[in-house]
């Protein structure tokens, strides 16, 4: 990263817009579609695609509210070499097109014996904290992590959002690219345009010796804050941002936990049967004798996302929950 880029701050919306723009400029096969994403309809609910239909014409299309139809259309176009990047406005809406994602996009490479594959990206967005209730805020990544054939990418900051989206578009497999609502407007280091960040590789964002904190997406807003607070008490946390949730970068995770002997996984998705459970199981399978404490999970409550502010707060994990989990591994 050059000095000039380092000094510039942008938000994730801008970074994603650049990623789409640069990908479309680099490859005529990249097309994007989704609800209201073209400029006459507003350039997307978050304006991530603002300006692109004006620049690229029919390669950028607003669709009817028809997720099954347009997700399936992306599958069909992808198997003959188009690289569709579609936007599913909210992650909960994947439920109406799961058949196309899990029965088709994920499996066509395998079922065809490798004759076809589906290089498509599904961009979607979610996150609680906005009182949107039970059908507009779920983190559903575990559904897709449980489906062989799909990759799940969940950036936590503008520079990663750019580099990971470029890599997702270049990837030959279907990718679910989950953006996080609350962090869209957070400023961060500007990406180096033209440079992708490899999928399947986690990022050690802080080195430490006492405990490994593992997060992605939303939880990367919280983990560094708690780690900074714990540092004042002499607790030295190593922090891993997964970037790609599936396939998991177990090499990076195990290298870290081997060193620290302790691990805490933090995610906004509900706790049971989640990503934290999988990571915890894999760490225990590989490092049982080297662990100094059981792996801890910090996650949302096992309930639908509630509406009322105080209920929503009770649903989400807190910084105190992360801190308590870390301290429990040190007892």
């Amino acid at each position: 990263m050059n000095a000039q880029a380092k000094s510039t701050q942008v938000n994730t919306i801008q970074a994603l817009n650049w990623a789409l723009d640069d990908a479309m400029a680099a490859d005529a096969n990249v097309v994007i579609f989704g609800e209201e994403i073209a400029d006459p309809e507003g350039g997307g609910i978050m304006k991530v695609s603002a300006g692109l239909s004006t620049k690229y014409g029919t390669r950028v299309r607003s669709t009817p509210i028809s997720e099954m139809g347009f997700t399936g259309a992306a599958v069909g176009a992808a198997i003959v070499g188009i690289r569709p990047v579609i936007e599913i406005m909210l992650m909960n809406f994947v439920a109406v097109c799961m058949d196309q994602i899990t029965n088709h996009a994920a499996k066509l490479r395998f079922m065809s014996g490798g004759q076809t594959h589906v290089p498509m990206v599904i961009r979607t967005m979610t996150g609680s904290g906005f009182q949107t209730g039970g059908q507009h805020a779920d983190f559903l990544e575990a559904w897709f992590c449980h489906t062989p054939g799909i990759k799940v990418v969940m950036p936590s900051n503008p520079a990663d959002a750019y580099g990971l989206l470029r890599a997702a578009i270049e990837d030959d497999d279907p990718v679910i690219f989950v953006e996080h609502l609350a962090s869209y407007w957070n400023p961060g280091v500007a990406p180096e345009r033209g440079k992708s960040i490899p999928l399947g590789k986690a990022n050690v964002v802080r080195a430490g010796k006492d405990v490994t904190l593992i997060g992605y997406s939303r939880s990367m807003m919280d983990i560094p804050v708690v780690a900074a607070s714990l540092a004042k008490d002499g607790i030295d946390c190593e922090i891993i941002d997964l970037r790609t949730v599936s396939p998991l970068d177990m090499d990076t995770i195990l290298t870290s936990v081997k060193k620290t002997g302790r691990a805490v996984v933090v995610h906004e998705a509900v706790r049971s049967f989640g990503v934290g459970a999988e990571i915890s199981a894999r760490i225990h399978e590989s490092l049982f004798r080297e662990l100094k404490a059981p792996v801890q999970r910090v996650a949302s409550q096992d309930s639908p996302v509630p509406f009322a502010k105080q209920l929503e707060a009770a649903f989400m994990y807190s910084h105190a929950d992360i801190e308590q989990a870390v301290r429990s591994t040190l007892r």
Binding site: V31, T58, R59, R61, T63, P64, S66, M68, G69, F70, T71, G72, A73, A74, V75, G76, A77, A78, I79, V80, G81, I82, P84, D99, Q100, N103, H104, L108, R109, F110, M111, S112, G113, G114, Q115, T116, H117, P148, G149, K151, D171, D172, D173, P247
Partner: protein, 327 residues
């Protein structure tokens, strides 16, 4: 067979018969080997529906795309997927179209344009729209044919696809092979319209209902639809009325089908009927057709031998083709 002014030439008429015969003879052999215990699979026979894909595909090239469904081996054979690759697939061999990883419900063969076969009712239509979108974006003249049954006209994917194809004027042809039963449920019990093609009106596209057992009627409807799609005129819905002789799935005893209806359908078997019509109208001689049938029988023999002589797919294949990279 109705008398028509636009009857195709004898060569085309015989080519349609060849495809129908290939479909029939392969189907009969699949069932006999299943009954002999030599093959185990969920098999959705399309015996009785031969005329539809034969009369359509004879007008397509390998560049045109096909999407079909679990009851779709007739569509694949008509489109040009080599039967030996289908046989090897069903036998679980490494030489199969998909190395034995797809099976009867998921055969793919891009060389002949057979891009996706789905086991989920209705799911092929959105994908067909996407194939057509790719052609449209690239300015190509190829068309996409996406097949489905009457039952699929009641699922959301049908409606979303027709709407999207109409709004975007996609070069796609929706072919409903209406065989009167959605699994075990009679058409009228589950469908709000008299004809599936009536639904085309809601999506501002032409919709036609034809006798799907009449190759000439199917040929004519497909010709119009293909020309429309190729010239940028957008999608068409064709409903071809037919019947499947072997129930939903092999093993289905068909108790839900009234005997009189079943007997009448068998009597209207499109294959012998069309054969006789070809001879009666001087488009082909009896000896010529017997020779053709013998050739296809030999082709089936060769395909079966090829399949069972091929090595079984190695279990290590399970790790391949999950992702681009091998885990």
């Amino acid at each position: 067979m109705t008398a028509r002014a636009d009857v195709p030439d004898a060569k085309t008429l015989v080519a349609i018969f060849r495809k129908m015969t290939q479909i029939r003879l392969n189907d009969e052999r699949f069932i006999s080997l299943m009954k002999a215990g030599k093959m185990v699979m969920p098999y959705y026979s399309a015996r009785g529906q031969e005329a539809i894909p034969s009369a359509i595909s004879v007008q397509l090239t390998n560049d045109d795309y096909l999407v079909t469904i679990y009851r779709g081996i007739h569509d694949m054979i008509a489109k040009g997927v080599p039967p030996r690759l289908i046989w090897a697939e069903l036998a679980g061999r490494s030489t199969g179209a998909c190395k034995g990883k797809g099976g009867p419900m998921h055969i793919t063969h891009p060389k002949s344009g057979c891009m996706v076969t789905t086991g989920v009712v209705g799911a092929g239509m959105p994908i067909g729209c996407g194939l057509a979108l790719a052609s449209q974006l690239r300015g190509e003249t190829r068309v996409t044919v996406t097949n489905f049954g009457d039952g699929a006209s009641n699922i959301g994917a049908f409606h979303e696809s027709l709407n999207l194809a109409s709004v975007w004027k996609l070069p796609v042809i929706f072919v409903c092979q209406n065989n009167r039963y959605a699994e075990h449920t009679a058409f009228a019990k589950g469908t709000s319209v008299e004809h599936v093609a009536d639904r085309a009106k809601s999506y501002s596209m032409p919709g036609v209902t034809v006798d799907g057992n009449d190759p000439l009627a199917v040929f004519a409807a497909a010709k119009t639809a293909i020309e429309r799609a190729r010239s940028g005129g957008g999608p068409t819905l064709i409903e071809a009325l037919t019947f499947r002789f072997n129930g939903h799935l092999i093993g289905d005893m068909g108790e839900y089908i009234p005997k009189a209806e079943y007997d009448a359908a068998l009597a209207a078997d499109p294959v012998p009927k069309y054969r006789q019509w070809l001879i009666d109208n001087g488009h082909a001689g009896g000896v010529e057709l017997e020779t053709l049938e013998a050739e296809i029988r030999a082709e089936v023999d060769e395909a079966v031998k090829f399949a069972f002589d091929s090595p079984l797919t190695d279990p290590s294949e399970i790790k391949l083709d999950v992702y681009a990279e091998v885990a």
